[in-house]
């Protein structure tokens, strides 16, 4: 009973907030609705017993990705008239994208119903998941045995992407003075201050 009620609550909020992401006038509101959608999707994950995935969804998407989204969107100087000006021009492209996404969705569901794809290392197919094992151990058992090459490859791709992003955006800045923390820490009071016993009536040498 309570599962059913929570499912309909979570599911309807996910759909409603996903719609609000598109319909909200203000981009900041859009991002906040997106966060609501993520959060309720995590609730759905908990309902199907995938608590680890749910926590990852909240930590990674709500806690990190959406914060960066918000960070960027908040700093935009928004001109609403200009935002809506390109609507008619971009309609064909948008429709095309929608069709492609819908086709992929149909393809994905069809492939899923046709049966699971066997990926991963063929010789280490022994890792089976029992219901008694906690989520994390089950995923770990599969990830580090059957899918270890795909897992490592994903890690490598992410590393390359990170290095690439840094290389592409890093510029040696000229004319800015950086902080040398070690010299700041090593600085002692004697180097910067001087104790003087100044006689009365004479000026101070600065």
């Amino acid at each position: 009973m309570i599962q059913l009620v929570s499912f309909y609550i979570f599911a309807s909020i996910v759909i409603a907030s996903a719609a609000m992401v598109i319909f909200a006038r203000n981009p900041v509101h859009s991002v906040l609705w997106l966060i609501v959608a993520f959060f309720n999707a995590a609730g759905l994950m908990i309902l199907i017993g995938a608590e680890f995935i749910a926590m990852l969804l909240v930590i990674v998407y709500v806690g990190a990705v959406a914060v960066l989204f918000l960070f960027v969107v908040m700093m935009l100087d928004i001109d609403f008239a200009e935002l809506r000006a390109g609507f008619v021009k971009n309609v064909p492209l948008g429709l095309l994208l929608a069709v492609v996404l819908a086709a992929e969705l149909v393809l994905g569901i069809g492939a899923y119903q046709a049966g699971a794809v066997t990926l991963g290392t063929p010789e280490a197919g022994a890792a089976t998941v029992s219901a008694a094992v906690p989520n994390i151990e089950a995923i770990g058992g599969l990830l580090y045995s059957k899918y270890v090459f795909m897992f490592e490859t994903a890690g490598l791709i992410l590393l390359v992407a990170m290095v690439g992003a840094i290389v592409l955006t890093h510029r040696k800045s000229h004319g800015t003075r950086g902080q040398s923390i070690s010299s700041q820490v090593q600085r002692r009071p004697e180097e910067a201050t001087r104790n003087v016993n100044q006689p009365v009536g004479q000026g101070i040498e600065l």
């Binding site: 926590m55 990852l56 930590i59 806690g63 960066l68 918000l70 908040m74 989520n135 994390i136 902080q179």
Partner: protein
């Protein structure tokens, strides 16, 4: 507690529901009281550090000062700036406050005394504490004012930076305990050192990250010396500048509930949680909840001590500490701890 309500003649579902609601109230209401008293205690501590008297007028030794402040704030007018984004402006303090209370659901107060004993308890805490930044960021943006906005930017960058190293530190602990369950982590510390000291912090391999976690938790809660989000010499009052009355009080309560949570986390992860410091039978006569509270209060003393004595960091120093010092060290420590555990056959 569910079985207690079942003995009253309720069906299992009703009993579970009632027990959960009762549990939430049993945590949230004492927590509010604790926050009020801890604010008083902290003001007394700062006063002692600064050779002042601190609050000493309202009630005996000024104990009721926080309640007087609360009443005053409650009676004030709520001012909503006309240029602000009204809905978000009011939601922001509610988010901060709610999120600060939510994480307490998985904290074990004594052996088995926990609202929700879930397998992914530590991840839940990490997830919920990463939500805390939204209250600050939304407040800063919705105020539509310069200083709160700067503060929101700082808060977003600061909390993301320190969450990374906190995550790695937690991984070290999880590796050693072998579980994400918070109660399991506490139990893993029973007799950890020489078979009788109940704390990870005395493990030479884990002591450095205990210190790092203490510092990171100060940065994560934006406490001094990392309170750059509300640095009064630069940003007036930071993200709270435009807030008044109860909205302001909710930020205040949420912040201190968060600080208490971080103290509790320090106590649980490194100092044995509800276990007595030494695995010696007579010490177990004292209830676990007392040990837990004593440890929280000692951690809070450290927090207040640091706030009273350490000058505020500069923002570039804060970022450097997070990304260039804590991140590499904690990452290296994950290698070190997992290598050690692998080498000694801990996982076998």
């Amino acid at each position: 507690m569910t079985s207690f309500f079942q003995t009253l003649g309720m069906s299992y579902e009703t009993a579970w529901f009632t027990a959960t609601i009762a549990g939430i109230l049993l945590i949230a209401l004492p927590l509010m009281l604790a926050v009020a008293l801890i604010i008083y205690a902290e003001r007394k501590l700062w006063a002692a550090f600064a050779l002042r008297r601190g609050p000493n007028v309202v009630g005996p030794f000024g104990v009721l000062q926080s309640f007087a402040d609360g009443l005053k704030v409650f009676l004030q007018e709520t001012i909503i700036p006309s240029a602000s984004n009204r809905g978000l402006f009011l939601i922001a303090p509610i988010i901060t406050f709610t999120v600060a209370l939510m994480a307490w659901a998985v904290i074990p107060f004594a052996d088995g005394v926990v609202l929700s004993n879930i397998n992914v308890g530590l991840l839940y805490i990490l997830a919920i504490s990463s939500l805390g930044v939204y209250g600050v960021v939304i407040a800063g943006w919705a105020s539509n004012s310069k200083y709160p906005f700067y503060s929101a930017m700082r808060a977003a960058a600061q909390m993301i930076s320190y969450e990374v190293s906190i995550g790695f530190i937690l991984i070290c602990i999880v590796l050693w305990a072998g579980t994400f369950n918070v109660g399991g982590i506490v139990e893993g510390q029973r007799g950890h050192i020489f078979g009788f000291i109940n704390a990870y912090a005395f493990n030479p391999l884990l002591f450095p990250i205990a210190i790092m976690f203490l510092i990171s938790s100060m940065a994560e809660t934006a406490r001094a010396p990392f309170d750059l989000t509300e640095a009064e010499s630069e940003l007036v009052a930071g993200y709270q500048t435009e807030y008044s009355s109860m909205a302001f009080a909710l930020f205040w309560l949420g912040e201190y509930a968060n600080v208490l949570l971080m103290c509790a986390l320090n106590a649980i992860l490194f100092w044995g949680g509800y276990l007595p410091p030494v695995d010696w039978a007579p010490l177990y006569a004292v209830p676990g909840i007392i040990w837990f509270f004593v440890k929280i209060l000692l951690m809070f003393f450290v927090f207040a001590w640091v706030k009273a004595t350490v000058p505020r960091y500069r923002y570039d120093q804060l970022m450097r500490l997070g990304w260039k010092v804590f991140l590499p060290i904690s990452l290296f420590w994950v290698f070190l701890v997992s290598g050690y555990l692998m080498f000694t056959g801990h996982f076998a």
